[in-house]
Assembly symmetry: C2
DNA sequence: ATGTCTTTGTGAACGCGTGCACAAAGATGG
DNA sequence: CCATCTTTGTGCACGCGTTCACAAAGACAT
């Protein structure tokens, strides 16, 4: 799971728990599917199954939004779609810029799930002059020299960073300085941002590493116990350098 | 000397908290960077800063692995890199298949962060016959008819699904039937799997929606309060159909 | 109108994760 | 060898999130 940073004791004001917010998009997706099949109402049990969560959890989540259900019947699909959309801020248009148009940046630009949720790719930005003008997903790539102007002209407040790790912090700072207050970071690095700026990160290799952990566990504890003994530092060193010269490196080659 | 044949508590019921496991890759990344700069030791404070977490949390996380630090000094970087790698199962080679070679699948195939962590892309699989044989990231794409054989021949236990949502569940079932027990799912859909199979999901649009929520909050509570009153179902319907015909759609176009 | 049946909304208990604060361990210097 | 200083490892308390279990609310049939 990507984690938000900036740990405050929680927004005790309007207080929808973070965990609930993170599930709302899940519910919304399931509800949209039901809506397309013209299903009028749905029970917490059915919807929970479709969203892959516990029904009690779902009801508690919805209780934070208000009492939108009808006892004995369930929830009105269309109404709930609207309420959740509104709560998430998806009833308005969110212009987004993607910085770093490598393989991943291009994939994001082509990703259909954005447009269908109120997100509009306002611009694609890359540091490589050779990319400038080249259309990706029908949008011409612009050079990063114009980053600030692009942000301001389009009123962008959400930025996506898909650059190599080494460039991410600098890009982040320019985005923030230009007015961006929410950042989705795909670069494998920790971004430091001023108070008031939200960062969520998605690290593809971290997810795989977590799977590997569980996979190893499943593969049997006996193997781990066998190769247990203390390992000399020398062995360690050679092992880690074996990994190749890329080490912590770039998520995606930026053209 | 952190080592010195620390006798394993053995009784450690292998109970490493999920939250800790999820942070180990973060520490590993930071440690790898230090290792490349030939930094010999690091304090919990420094490493925590580099990994973007609290130092107390980091020390507690490491305490689950054992006592690998030296009081008054800190942690031996190389030794810790090895211990965490071993704990995560990264000292062995993990063959991985990627199913669905669209924009995202191709980006994943090109992603450098995999190979550098012990993950090896054993095969690329796509349902489009036109893709078969075409090299992506230097690896020829194979047709999904051969999925089972590919899995078994390569001893693959980790699969990555980057297909459209509609195909994901079917692909998932074939992977599991062929012996895959860990799945990283990029398709925007809930996968149901038998007991013993781990699934982690990455949904790009969900992350953006969470950011939008906080962005809306930051943009001011007054706007939300103003447009609050009950909204008729009619308005809701038109709003949701405005979203276009893609609705819940595919993460990535597969070719 | 009344009773029955279904499903919501939520109080309460519980468990996990986080952060504090400090004692113990070891390095370092005299 | 002793004193001092640094940093780890962890006991403890707290708060968030999850789950259970059930009373209240409304639909529906008679």
């Amino acid at each position: 799971m990507a984690t938000g940073r900036t740990h405050r004791p929680a927004t005790r004001s309007r207080g929808i728990p973070e965990a609930t917010v993170a599930r709302l998009p899940l519910y919304l997706r399931a509800l949209t599917a039901l809506s397309e099949r013209s299903v009028p109402t749905v029970s917490s049990e059915e919807l929970a199954a479709a969203a892959g969560v516990n029904s009690a959890k779902l009801r508690k989540d919805f209780s934070y939004l208000g009492s939108y259900g009808t006892r004995g019947v369930g929830y009105d699909v269309e109404y709930l779609v609207y309420q959740i959309s509104r709560e998430l801020g998806l009833t308005q248009d969110w212009p987004v810029v993607i910085v770093g148009i490598g393989n991943l940046g291009a994939a994001l630009a082509n990703y259909g799930g954005f447009a269908s949720r109120g997100f509009r790719v306002a611009a694609l930005i890359d540091a490589d002059p050779a990319m400038a003008g080249k259309p990706v997903a029908g949008i011409p790539v612009q050079h990063s020299d114009d980053l600030e102007k692009i942000i301001q002209d389009n009123g962008v407040s959400i930025g996506v960073i898909a650059t190599p790790a080494g460039a991410a912090q600098a890009v982040c700072e320019r985005l923030v300085a230009a007015g961006v207050t929410s950042i989705l970071n795909f670069a494998p690095t920790v971004l430091s941002v001023p108070e008031g700026v939200d960062v969520r990160k998605v690290d593809l290799s971290i997810e795989l590493q977590i799977l590997a952990f569980h996979e190893q566990r499943k593969a049997g504890e006996e193997a781990a116990a066998a190769s247990d003994g203390g390992v000399p530092a020398a062995a360690v060193r050679s092992d880690s350098t074996d990994q190749g010269p890329d080490g912590d490196m770039p998520a995606v080659m930026p053209a």
